[in-house]
């Protein structure tokens, strides 16, 4: 197949014009074109989902589901957004559903009750820093699904409030409120063992 070689496009290079053709072809049922899109976009989406969910295994499941859903919906995708943005949104929403199903929401007050006394005596600064990261990772479980998603997109993925509002499907004000609440919960959680 003469076109096959060109289809395995470089992942992070020219998403714009290369993607345009691939997306059109995939929408018309060209599986090779879709495979090239999956291959190219998976790494960024896996990183996003790993940050949202916490483990690579869960991230892979979520991204796999997201791609399957994208394949089904591609005929209705008319390129209003870029394929990358569209996928980012699908993965974010998929992860939100996973987070919502995962936990009964822990009230914010619980943040102050983080068990952590053992770390308080830790002498070395490096250990302290590493502990802080681990504490933070654990404290993320205290956040509601929505707070966590907004906070992760903002703080770990470095997205603008505007972008997050679009990806999550809520207003910018609502995003700001959630990031604020997440920060307050997390600073309290980290402060608890200092």
């Amino acid at each position: 197949m003469a076109g096959a070689r060109r289809l395995t496009a470089p992942p992070d290079a020219g998403h714009d014009t290369g993607d345009t053709l691939l997306v059109v072809r995939a929408a018309e049922g060209d599986e090779d074109a879709f495979a090239a899109l999956v291959q190219g976009h998976a790494p960024v989406l896996i990183r996003l989902a790993t940050r949202l969910l916490g483990t690579v295994a869960e991230a892979e499941d979520a991204v796999q589901d997201a791609f399957l859903s994208a394949w089904r919906r591609l005929p209705e995708f008319h390129g209003q957004a870029s394929f990358a943005t569209w996928m980012y949104r699908i993965v974010t929403n998929r992860c939100l559903n996973v987070l919502r199903a995962r936990r009964p929401v822990v009230p914010l007050e619980a943040a102050g009750e983080m068990p952590a006394a053992e770390h308080a005596t830790s002498p070395a600064r490096i250990t302290e820093a590493r502990d802080a990261v681990r504490e933070l990772r654990e404290a993320l479980d205290l956040l509601s699904a929505e707070q966590r998603a907004c906070w992760v997109l903002r703080e770990l993925d470095g997205r603008s409030y505007e972008f997050i509002a679009d990806a999550v499907g809520i207003s910018q004000e609502a995003v700001r409120a959630r990031v604020f609440r997440a920060r307050r919960c997390l600073t309290q959680a980290l402060g608890a063992w200092r």
Binding site: G29, F67, L68, A132, L136, R183
Partner: protein, 205 residues
């Protein structure tokens, strides 16, 4: 502080906020920090500075957490792609069957399958990338099918001549590989690609 009567951008009135002993809402202090603005009060107020210090400590841990996620370049997407495509191939997408051969033959091919062969034929012309490829029944019982093909063509090439070559390849493939009777091949150039030294396929026959 009583000077801040107007809530600044980003302050919410949802009752979730917290007022520092100096009177400033915590949300405002953190907003200012994030937008890197400061005023005489925030620079000297111990309460505001304490609140900022808390957030900065969080940010330090955040930076550590951010570094824990491996680089995207380190991720091998091959296995995931294979799993996704295995599932995709199980999906039954409704497609349109197209007639093959003589009208009486009652032989059909799915449009997606035929389109794959025709796109591939078009791309055997150097510098051409194929996009949308629709194949529709032409009018009349023995008229065959009409192909509507979008291509990205190389810049600085005679388009008439290029289109003619693409048409010829498409007709040949339809005839030899599919046994499909083609009434017409409409070609639409949707982009001109200035391909530097990249696409070198040596196929200019």
């Amino acid at each position: 502080m009583t000077t801040h009567t107007d809530p600044p951008e980003g302050t919410r009135a949802d009752g979730d906020d917290e007022r520092l002993p100096c009177g400033r809402p915590l949300s405002q202090v953190w907003d200012d920090w994030e937008r890197q603005v400061s005023d005489p009060h925030s620079a000297t107020c111990p309460h505001c500075r304490h609140a900022v210090r808390d957030l900065e400590q969080l940010e330090t841990a955040v930076a550590g957490l951010r570094e824990e996620t491996p680089e995207t370049s380190a991720y091998d997407a091959e296995p995931l792609t294979r799993r996704v495509m295995d599932l995709v191939r199980l999906e039954l997408r409704p497609g349109r069957p197209l007639p093959l051969g003589e009208p009486a033959e009652d032989l059909w091919i799915m449009e997606t399958v035929a389109a794959r062969a025709l796109r591939s034929a078009a791309e055997s012309v150097e510098g051409v990338s194929a996009g949308s490829c629709r194949i529709v029944d032409a009018d009349g019982p023995a008229a065959g099918v009409e192909v509507r093909l979008d291509i990205h063509a190389p810049a600085h090439v005679g388009l008439q001549e290029l289109a003619e070559r693409v048409r010829r390849r498409v007709r040949e493939a339809a005839d030899r590989e599919l046994g499909m009777v083609i009434a017409s091949v409409d070609i639409r150039v949707t982009d001109l690609v200035d391909s530097g030294a990249e696409n070198r396929e040596g196929d200019t026959a």
